[in-house]
Amino acid sequence: MMTKSRLAFFINKIKSMAWPVSVDAEVCNYQRRVWINVLVFSMVCLLMMVFFLSCQQKKSANVLTIGLPEEPRTLNVWLASDANSWKILSQIYQGMYVRDPDTLELIPWLAENMPVLETQTMSYLVKLKKAKWSDGTDFTAHDVAFTAGVFLDFKVPRYYSKWKAIDKIEVVDDHTVRFFLKEPSAIVLSRVFTAPMVSRAQWQAVAEAALKTQKPLRTLQNHTVEKPLGTGPFMISTYRKGTFVYMKKNPWFFGTGTTIAHRRLGPWVDGVIYKMYGTSDVAILALQKGEIDMYWWGIEPGYVKDLKKAPDIELFHNPKSALYFMGFNLRKAPFDDRVLRRAIATLIDKEFIVTRLLQNYGVPMHSIVPPGNRFWHNPDVSRYSKGMNHKQRIQRACDMLQQSGYSWQVSPVDQVGNLREPSTICLPNGEAMKKITILTPPADYDPKRAFAGMMIQEWLREIGIPAFAKPMSFSALLDKVKGKHDFDAFVLGYGKLNLDPDYVRTFFYSKNDKPRGWNMSGYNNPVFDALANAQRLEMDKNKRRVLLLEMQQILLQDLPYIPLYNPDILEASSRKRFDGWVETLEGIGNLWSLCMVKPVTASGAEKP
């Protein structure tokens, strides 16, 4: 009992300390006055502080500020798999060849010139530039050989399967490397020689130690890299997790002052600050307010009207190398029937999707290779609903289905040719079609695809197909479609397709029809497979093109995927402080822009 009363006393004491209440009236009054004074004082302090800070000029003249939609998760080049980490890393780690921003052809970057193919030995000879790492040491052929060694020893995802094509690497001298191929391969240049090169000095000890552990790749990926060593235009100066990344100009950058792709490269800024914004809306407000000079992420068409009115904002509108499509499960009824897939292709109004959902910032897609990829795109593939209106689509689809044995109790088109509410469609074997699910990504991941799914559902119902669009979480969706193959149809997309069209093979090659394989539809066509393999071995670009055009034609006949649309990328920057962004496929967020952006000076850095 003793302790209890002491405790109560104690608690009371604490309470009276925390709460300025007292039984005594005068003390009470006094305390109140003190409190009011403290309150007023702190309010004044706060206000002063706010004005002090908002008046202050924070920007240093020559530092570019770029907004990012999410935090770069890691600086470890072996681990990074998110887009935002790569935005940082791509300024640091460079490949031997890059794409020219205008022609989209590969041009020498860390390499001195284009590789020389020796057909007898099946080998490429690559001469390297006299580049330096960002600590001033030389970049040599040994670094290239070391990087290749890591790709192969650790089976680094994404690279290993491509680098397997290399039989061995010979360091001829400090700046010459010879790559011996196992067999002719059309994709070596675009997939192997563009890989990022790392420094042997920085990684050798780490790699050797990691190889001795049980999980070598995981150990390598979990290695913390404070200051990655690269050959690119920028290097890490400060990286505060969750808040910002500051990159300084790399004084040793090999491109500075040279002219590559008709551009005299900088970087012309002293550094770049990358800031994070939790939502795009706020990032765009920040752009208008001048907190950032550019937002490195596509913006929604809804912003355009307002941004056009803002005097300092410059809008960029560029095509993307993307493919958004509806895919079918060819392994089971009802979508194993090509006629049904063609009827659906007829019903889908791509124009509607593009004009409404994309607000005209995009193009309808008719082939698997996007039209922006001019050299490889086949414009002459079969089109199913060209120039038809709503009624004609339904009539045409009905005809197609009726001819191959589908039937209705109440058909969608009556004798006079008018539309009506149909009964459920019956398959050629007489059974009514069962419920069809169209899986789409959820609204939080991509509202457009979720919405496209809803629209397609409505169109299919108009001819009595019992379709149900079902958005599901992205992981769950891919698990069903790619892992378990348990689905009817889906709407998915690839946002950043490589410019090399080898993916046409990847997506539809019959051997890729396995769990986690990329042939999600289960497409199996020996003729196509033969062409797909042939194009991979074809070293002559023009001959390869013929093969690829034919592959596209076959795919659009068989329709394992119905290509839907290819959105454009809209980006915005502020021209108040910097200009000179380089527009290319995928927009202005690229290495070239960062090498070319210049501060706007009073004397005028006007471009000719």
Partner: protein, 299 residues
Amino acid sequence: MSYNSGFTQRFSTSWKIFIKNPLGKAGLALLMLFAFMALASFALPFIGDMYDPMTGVDPLVLHSVGPSAVHWLGTDFIGRDIFCQLLEGSKIAFIVGLASAFISIVIGTVVGMVSGYAGGIVDMLLMRLADMVMVLPSLVILLIIAALFGQLNIWMIVFLIAILRWPAVARVIRSQTLSLKQRPFIEASRVAGASNVRIIFKHIMPNVLPLAFLYMTFRVTSAILVEASLSFLGFGDPGQISWGMMLQWVWSSGHMFQAPYWLLPPGICISLLTLSFYMVGRAMDEVLDPRLRKEGKPS
């Protein structure tokens, strides 16, 4: 005095006190307005295809436009009428709010009564369970479930909200039951040979119902807010128009600060509807308060 008789009479006196309360009056008026909106949404299919909140598209409108005679609140980015969506949204808000509140009240009341009446180990287990559910942050749990198991449909959301929100009710009902248990009329019916189930449902339930009903109005508020947040973040049911979903569309299509005619109505409606339920609840609280306090005191 029998506690079973005069229920209707007690109700009518309570009603008189309730309607005198300005909060209650205002809340009820607002509630009626939203109920009318919800009812009006059933008429939408008869007006025309263009006014279907989900699929109706104005063929002349290619992007979001402001209010006009044809579209009272303007259209969204694909040309659907915002006013129609608002009506449909109020229907969904009522369904979500009332249904999940009702389910959680049913669970909470049953658990509370059983736990209070049975006592002992049953009481201990049920209350520990309630504690456990109570410490779970509902929005985060819902987000996790939505993110892990794919998109939830509207009924799943209703059910999950209910499952996460019953413990507070159970606690209150339990303490109420505890005090009722001591009353002579319960003792009398037990002596008269009434079974436990009969005592719980015949004698205890009518007396805890007003309290349960009061808590229901508060649950409605939180259920509507949780559903709206979930939809706003894009984890809602995209096949169903709700106010949160409308805000999601404004947000994801980049009209957040460009289209006030589209952004403001759903946000204001969410606040007003929850406010009206809350005001009704408060007014009821004041009606029930004095009597409950006297009954609820531990004896």
